[in-house]
Symmetry: C2
Subunit: 358 residues, 2 copies
């Protein structure tokens, strides 16, 4: 973990790998992983998945990879692992209990075995990270319906990782961050109807978002991240003329965060705060990260210039976890045309490579 607050010597035990789960075997995850490997983007990574599935992805790409399969049943599979991986090989570890025949599943179809396998990879990999055996977790896309078919009722990675992290205790509050080279956005609400999202806003929820955001960025090495808060209403309510959520809910959360020493300002008009926060090669942004009240206020700008370099980061978990900003893309799975850049960006972010955490 390279941060500016942690000297290299004090960093994690040398050689702890980043774990990359393969995702749903019938989706584009395996081929994105293999593409990223061929493009040299998986240094320091071990793939958690099925070797047979990865071999099939190599065939689909017309470019197989040499695999070095580590022993997933060992109590410490990653001790000295780089020595077990010949140069030019992709390190893979198979979670114990992986179903057979995954490489015979049809591409692009919901299947309970695929769901069971992708969940097992996530569970096992998360366990290794939580145990301190691995550095961080990068998850290729799973399919919600395949999980449901396998009897797994978590709607996605985030909820499953919350439950795993809780180890039976209360769920840690988490927030979704989407980041690319230019803009980082943390969302107060996500998968709710817009009306319900407005109803769900509270000073407490907004303050918690600010605290989670600040903590995550400090952990990443920025001693005092500059957090901007976007309002909810046009012109951030124009002094109450177009809505009072800014005055009633958002401003008190900002005041509370500031009283705790956080560098938070706003609420700003939603239509210009993202533009102001945008970092380009010629102009640094005015803020490190923007907190948005709704899914689309935050995701419209971060996706506007393209999703190829978008990284989804779950803030608030006791493990570092990133993922590419796309799904299983069943319509193109197995054709070899999937774009691995978002996965590569997720690996870079998990590694801590991005400048100033971006």
């Amino acid at each position: 973990m390279s941060t500016s607050t942690t000297p290299p010597d004090a960093a994690a035990p040398a050689g702890r790998p980043l774990l990359v789960t393969m995702g749903d075997p019938a989706g584009i995850g395996p081929e994105c992983v293999l593409q990223a490997f061929h493009r040299g983007a998986l240094a320091g990574c071990v793939v958690v998945g099925s070797a047979a599935v990865l071999r099939r992805a190599g065939v689909a790409l017309g470019r197989p990879a040499m695999l070095a399969v580590l022993d997933g049943t060992a109590s410490r599979p990653f001790d000295g692992w780089p020595d077990a991986v010949p140069p030019g090989s992709l390190a893979v570890v198979e979670p114990p209990g992986l179903p057979e025949g995954l490489d015979a599943l049809p591409w692009g179809r919901v299947d309970a075995r695929a769901g069971r396998a992708s969940a097992l990879c996530v569970d096992t990999a998360a366990g290794w990270v939580l145990d301190g055996q691995a550095e961080a977790l990068v998850t290729a896309p799973i399919h919600k319906a395949a999980w449901a078919a396998a009897g797994i009722h978590d709607p996605g990675h985030t909820e499953r990782l919350q439950a795993l992290s809780a180890r039976g205790g209360p769920l840690p509050p988490v927030r979704m961050m989407l980041t690319n080279g230019e803009l980082s956005v943390v969302l107060v609400t996500i998968h709710l109807a817009l009306r319900a999202a407005i109803d769900a806003l509270s000073t407490e929820r907004i303050l918690q978002t600010l605290q989670i955001t600040d903590h995550a960025w400090r952990q990443r090495g920025l001693p005092r991240p500059r957090i901007a808060v976007a309002g909810l209403n046009p012109h951030a309510g124009e002094d109450g003329l177009f809505g009072d959520e800014e005055q009633r809910l958002i401003a008190p959360a900002i005041a509370a965060a500031r009283s705790q020493g956080l560098d938070v300002c706003g609420p700003f008009p939603p239509d210009t705060v993202f533009m102001r926060a945008r970092h380009t090669s010629v102009r640094p942004g005015a803020f490190d990260v923007v907190v948005a009240m709704t899914h689309d206020h935050g995701l419209i700008p971060v996706k506007y210039l393209g999703v190829e370099n978008g990284v989804n980061v779950t803030l608030g978990l006791p493990l570092r976890r990133t993922s590419p900003d796309h799904g299983t893309a069943f319509d193109i799975a197995g054709t070899g045309v999937a774009d691995p850049r978002s996965l590569e960006a997720a690996v870079r972010y998990a590694r801590g490579d991005a400048p100033r955490g971006r």
Copy 2:
């Protein structure tokens, strides 16, 4: 008016000017106008305003302009007007009744005389355009509080132009479009609290927006504009899982518009439709224009890359009207640092210069 449907010979009477109102005399309007003139961006334009105010702006800029003042009391002030304007001069026409002493008003202050003057310029210029004496109207920013101080209760240009256009009859329904070189967005709702904006959505209002949008783009020479409709909820509701406005209100409006022959599709997830519609030099956008349900869904992406080239276009009026995408900026008025590019873009758009209407 240069369009692909109207042959040049059938165009408007040769020499009809574009009218550019000076805006609030205490704001940045006059200096933006003068800057634009010095940058060669006002060919074919006549400024409707006070010659004294424009002279003061020239002093503020450290670069005065030669003014050619046309007779605003004439019944047809623009007949043969180019002959009255020596090369290198800025054509100006003063509306009859302009208050005295406007060039002595302090910069950056709300003043009833300034409000009265800027409204008179708008009223007079709009009258000339509605009478067919001028081609189109470009409005520099007015100050709402100055209008109020002058006893003018319209909150902005749009409402005043609606009233002027109605000539006592019912107000024409209008919609705001924001456009730049890459993206054009039309808004179903604007200055309402987000909750109220959701309440204000109806199939009728959305359909009317689609009709106004289609009509305006056809008038501009695009025979069948490709209109995309952004949903309201995350993932456009994900089949009703996160809200039903897409199914209940938006889809029926799209169906009705299509049955009338309009090229409309959607509703699309708000977080990716603007990215898909974006035109760049290397990739044409998938749509000509996006209709957004809320102020910020539409304006976040169109402002994300900068507001310098943004143009505000009022669709639905019986006259062509554009304006720069900024206000009076009282904080910098008179300092000469105001950026004239948005005004210049507004002039280009009013003239019909932008490729394919963009």
